[in-house]
Amino acid sequence: MRKLLGLAVLGMVLLPAASAFAADPTDGPTPLQSITSAGTSFLTAVAIAPEQQVKVSAVTGDYLYWQFPATAGQRPELTIDVALPATGRSGDHSWTVEVFDGLRRRQACVGGEQSPVAKTTDTTLQLGCRLRQVRSWAEPWDGDPLPGTYYVRLSSTELPEKDLGLPLDVTLALKSPTGDTGADQGELAAPLVPNNQPGKLLASAAPTTSVEPEEESSFDFSMDWLPDFSSRWVWTVAGGFIAAVTGLIGFSWTRRRRRV
């Protein structure tokens, strides 16, 4: 009975994981609607998805914001093309693309041209940013990329004052390939998604009687038991097979000697 239940538990873990791989949003043929706008602040950032076409007209000096979701194991990568204003530029423009996590903490780009400079003669400019692999868990005082919302800000950091306000076009492409999640341990209880509700001032230390924790603690308890499907499962199960085989080999050695 216990064995059966154990198998059932294993199945429950493996099935959702398998279906998640099957239902990868990138493989569907459904074309996503293209995005033609950008936000002007963290709050108004326009949501985009991987493989979604983003083409926006803007002007020099604009701060353009987008946001996208990422899950553990993904390595989001941004590629941005800027068609610079054809006339009216009087000097070099420094551009930058910055990525922030759901807590508006700056995230490092480990690949791509993050802060290029456009010479006066250039007509286009390419920017790129590849993030580190999103971790499933991190210490609270750690800056690792975590599952949740990510913000993208595209802006020019240095440009001649008189070049402000000239029209340009921006094309953005986001890719989020999934890597192996097996290297990670732990689970973030809630993704880093901003809680966009109006704030409320409390008169005094309101006794917030939380009923949830008891329920929640059993959730955590179960997660400690069974990690999600990852390459570790494959290695461990393969190791078990090899151990069984070598066990049989060892056993046969002793028997053969006895016969001879």
């Binding site: 538990v9 963290f42 461990t236 090899i242 070598t246």
Partner: protein
């Protein structure tokens, strides 16, 4: 035992489901209850609009055509108003000319015919009282909508200073929490451009220059469309205190405040055992600042012991600088029980010109979620070393089992 196992099974399934669902929606915002946003176009009809330098036509003609096109393309839901400045007084008396601003279309769902007629009757006439027009527009929009945007279209700088329109804009932004001024310069000269950039920066808006009719039409349409999308949340206004003892106690949500250069602002948050505090702070750069700057947010105990900090620094042009932090009491048994945590927001800005102006806009976002547990050692392994160790262990176990069997069979046969 069976019940416990079963509950684990369901719990695991639920967690797997929630993990996949939870990551995809960006946020569940309560937009249904918020009012639609409002936008008012402010058009300069001063004498300088007579200049015929846009594709060989006067600025006024081009602006009128652009407005007509924008009115035609307006989404039905947009709440729009139109105000003009310098449209009626043609004399030389500055005092009278600088009071010349009227609302020609009241804020609300747009009556296209009426709006077009009002636009058609405009003639470039008088002075350019931008400061006053901004004040009046702010009054027009008072008490309406969840977000208020002003689109200011002008071809020349304010001819009625003082007051400097940039100071007026900063003052208006400091009064309300959600007033944004986008500016559009029609073939602007250097002075106009500087003034418009200053106005848009002071209110968190954008600036664009239009050299042709197409550019003007496209940009106004873009600004009106942008204004029609309500922000996900209207932040609550809060005033941080000078120390932790008197600091306001905040629940989860988004807040807005103002902080002077070099000022420290304190807020308190009650964090229960097993909960994690998440806070992010953004300070908008609403004025010219020295080149390098930074923002720091610290979580501390009520008696001043620092727990964790988030910080960011940058240099050059930017609209906002932000930092965030996470903290949970699990690592601190002494603080694990319900305790007030102090958040201290400070900045390292320096400004040569506007240091004494009202404080800089601060956006504070607080969330309380379930604390994440530090993971145990991995339950599963990986790598060739693991396979090797398991293979050797299997081999040794097999040999031992073989010997045992041999010994056991031998003794059994003897008996």
């Amino acid at each position: 035992m069976i019940h416990r196992k079963l509950s684990i099974v369901t719990a695991t399934g639920l967690i797997a489901a929630s993990a996949f669902l939870g990551a995809t929606p960006a946020h569940a915002e309560p937009t249904s209850e918020t009012e639609p946003p409002v936008v008012e176009l402010v058009l300069d009809v001063s004498g300088s609009m007579k200049a015929a330098d846009i594709d060989g036509q006067t600025r006024m003609t081009v602006a009128k055509r652009a407005f007509n096109e924008v009115v035609d393309a307006l989404p039905e839901t947009t709440q729009l108003g139109i105000r003009v400045l310098g449209a009626t007084y043609g004399g030389d008396n500055k005092r009278l000319g600088c009071k010349d601003t009227q609302q020609i279309v009241a804020v609300g769902p747009v009556n296209r015919v009426a709006a077009k007629n009002a636009i058609a009757s405009l003639k470039p006439t008088g002075f350019t009282p931008i400061g006053l027009a901004l004040r009046e527009t702010a009054k027009d929009l008072e008490g309406t909508g969840s977000a208020r945007r002003i689109v200011l279209i002008t071809d020349g700088e304010d001819t009625c200073t003082p007051p400097d329109p940039c100071d007026v804009a900063r003052e208006l932004a400091a009064q309300g929490t959600d007033l944004v001024v986008d500016t559009l310069g029609l073939a602007p000269d250097e002075k106009t451009r500087k003034q418009l950039v200053c106005i848009s920066q002071a209110t968190g808006g954008t600036y664009a220059a239009a050299q042709s009719e197409e550019e003007l039409t496209d940009r106004i349409k873009q600004l009106v469309d942008r204004a029609a999308v309500p922000p996900p949340v209207t932040p609550a206004t809060v005033q941080g205190a000078k120390d932790c003892a008197t600091a306001p106690l905040l629940a989860a949500g988004v807040y807005t405040d103002r902080e002077l250069i070099g000022e420290h602002r304190f807020y308190r948050v009650a964090v229960d055992a097993g909960r994690e505090l998440r806070a992010s702070v953004s300070i908008s750069l609403d004025r010219p600042l020295n080149r390098d700057y930074g923002v720091l947010v610290k979580a501390a105990t009520v008696d001043g012991r620092e727990l964790v900090r988030g910080l960011d620094a940058a240099s050059g042009r930017s609209d906002v600088v932000s930092a965030g932090l996470r903290w949970s009491g699990d690592e601190e048994p002494a603080l694990a029980a319900t305790s007030d945590i102090c958040l201290v927001v400070s900045n390292s800005f320096a400004s040569a010109t506007a240091a004494g102006a009202p404080g800089m806009p601060v956006e504070l976002s607080i969330d309380l979620v379930e604390a994440s547990q530090a993971p145990d050692a991995p339950g599963l392994g990986r790598g060739f070393l693991l396979l090797f160790v398991l293979a050797i262990a299997g081999l040794v176990a097999g040999v031992l089992a073989g010997w045992l069997t041999r010994w056991w069979v031998a003794t059994w046969r003897e008996n």
